[in-house]
Symmetry: C2
């Protein structure tokens, strides 16, 4: 008998129990074929069908226009930080980056190794507690693209709007926000997302790229990092991470069964309201982010006295509320409430927070 | 009830049933922790312990000396084809490569994009049916390293000896031969292997590198492709493919339970003898490889009349003998008999081959 607890981990993160059950049931014998999905050639009819179905389901969920390629790659968002300039920033060229926290800073640092980066705007002036409005951005006319991080997983800062960059391609690291609500993909040149939050297990990164941005890789780009090679080979230039791809496909099906991203938006909106409202109405807990820029998926909060952190975490664990400790660079608490974290988990957390405040407030 | 068939796939390949059963049993609740191993932070005590145990078990199995780092990376062997020159071939430098078939040719092609490649020896003169002896190699004095492919997964050609390259580091793509028998790691500067044959599921590549070869990456090497960064961060510069790492650890434990690599050598030797002997004593089947250079893991064979290929494959599938079709570039048949393919599978194949020959020979 498995006992499943509530898991608020920032990633690798909670997965839907129904998906894990299906994977468990067919782990040794996929659809009566006599072998695991992990044991099948990626070029077999069976796996190609798994892969194509996953892509189509993702296209359906996000209403991805036909002139975009969907790639299933490896190396996580961190590898994309290099892959993007190697594919899209010409030698000696310039790109605009928006700095909103730790993940955008990492993207900026890596891109700077391959070209000229103009930090067109930074949340530093707001101590990373608010996102600078587009009126304050200094976009450069010659930028090859504009890169930003719609949701900062560590800081808990999220864009509620899509930047307007005119004809300059907009590139977004959506690792911790993709699939949390509907998205107008046509506003982007490229979207990428590490899987281990809202897509599936770690070891997979999904890239959605407009076709006119292909064919631009530098001569020094490794073949495996060239989006054009990946697109031409349907993400099977070499053996892809088949199990992660398969499991992501199950999650896309689960999302469709939940009612798609309109439904997820309603569910996630309710979850974030429950938690922020508990924080804002308490004397003990606080979240520093400007209300309009608060993340729906990653909610950091502090206790008024950090000597209470340890007892808070210990009591949470006793109640089956796991992985609430904040990122080591920030401290405090963080609740990541991705798609697979149900309202019941948030309700249990909020009840515990109230109980703890009564005892220690 | 799952019915497990015999799977001769070249990769992703058969996995030990006992390992899949353990993974299945704990898929929703790893060791009573209330969550899947896929849902745990890679920085949690629990996962770090999984990761470190896997590394130690691999070190035990291969008796890896202490002055080697073991890295768990992404991108497969194909990404290594670029990563090796980016880390180990100085700008304008030269490396020696040995050409023994399709996989070494791919390594050569990619390395040529980053520096000067001297093809020091080629099996082409033997139609790729035999490996040129080291007396015929033209190694260059200034080579940064010598690269070779101990086992050609498609051609079915395998080195039974380790080249002597003196002080020049020897680098080996061991994707389809690692863990099939004991190995003297100290003879190598670096060994790498895509997991999806003898290590675990796809989406993971293991690199074993001598410490003095670290710290040499080019300025233009993406951070995620720099072995030194991976080594300094215990392969957790970013989120690693946690499930593939975990499952590989279960396979290392299984290998220890089998008696380690001495035992695997005995078992694999018996398997290959059974199959090659069936091929050599028949009128219908043939394998073209020079007997001393025959692969233990990947055994290609042809039928005397290729119009019999289709009925042979159909009959095999009826008997639960899966994935015997040869690589599309070669045709004919191929039986990959990795560690997880038992003697019983080879016996069943050989019995079917005899039966088919009686009917069609």
């Amino acid at each position: 008998m498995s006992k499943r607890l509530f898991n608020f981990c920032a990633g690798p993160a909670a997965l839907p129990e129904a998906v894990l059950q299906q994977a468990q049931q067919e782990l040794l014998d996929w659809q009566g074929k006599g072998l695991s999905v992990m044991e099948m050639s990626h070029r077999s009819d069976e796996f190609v069908s798994v892969a194509e179905t996953a892509e189509q389901d993702l296209r359906d969920l996000l209403a991805i226009p036909d002139n975009y390629k969907v790639l299933f790659l490896q190396g996580g968002a961190s590898q994309q930080f290099a892959q993007i300039p190697l594919n899209l920033l010409p030698d000696g060229g310039m790109a605009d980056y928006i700095d909103t926290g730790i993940w955008s800073a990492k993207a900026i640092e890596e891109a700077s190794r391959f070209g000229n980066v103009n930090v067109a705007a930074s949340a530093k002036g707001y101590d990373y507690f608010a996102i600078p409005g587009q009126n304050d951005w200094q976009l450069s006319a010659e930028a090859a693209y504009v890169h930003y991080t719609p949701n900062e997983t560590i800081g808990g800062l999220e864009f509620s709007w899509i930047p307007d960059t005119g004809d300059t391609p907009l590139i977004a690291d959506m690792s911790s926000t993709i699939l949390s609500r509907p998205l107008d993909v046509s506003r982007y040149g490229m979207i990428y997302a590490g899987a281990q939050k809202n897509i599936g297990p770690s070891g997979l990164v999904v890239v959605i790229i407009r076709e006119d941005l292909l064919g631009r890789a530098r001569a020094t780009c490794p073949t495996m990092l060239d989006y054009t090679v990946a697109a031409r080979n349907a993400s099977m230039y070499n053996t892809p991470p088949t199990f992660a791809w398969y499991l992501s496909g199950l999650i896309f099906q689960w999302l469709k069964q939940q009612g798609g991203l309109d439904a997820m938006q309603r569910i996630n909106d309710a979850k974030q309201q429950t938690l922020y409202s508990a924080i804002d109405t308490s004397e003990l807990y606080s979240n520093p982010i400007s209300p309009v820029d608060r993340s729906w998926m990653n909610i950091p909060f502090r206790l008024a006295d950090d000597r209470l952190d340890k007892p808070f975490l210990a009591g949470a664990e006793e109640r089956g509320l796991l992985n609430l400790k904040g990122h080591r660079s920030v401290g405090g608490m963080r609740a990541s409430i991705y798609n697979a974290v149900p309202q019941a988990a948030v309700d249990a957390l909020v009840a515990y927070m109230a109980e703890f405040e009564q005892q220690h407030g």
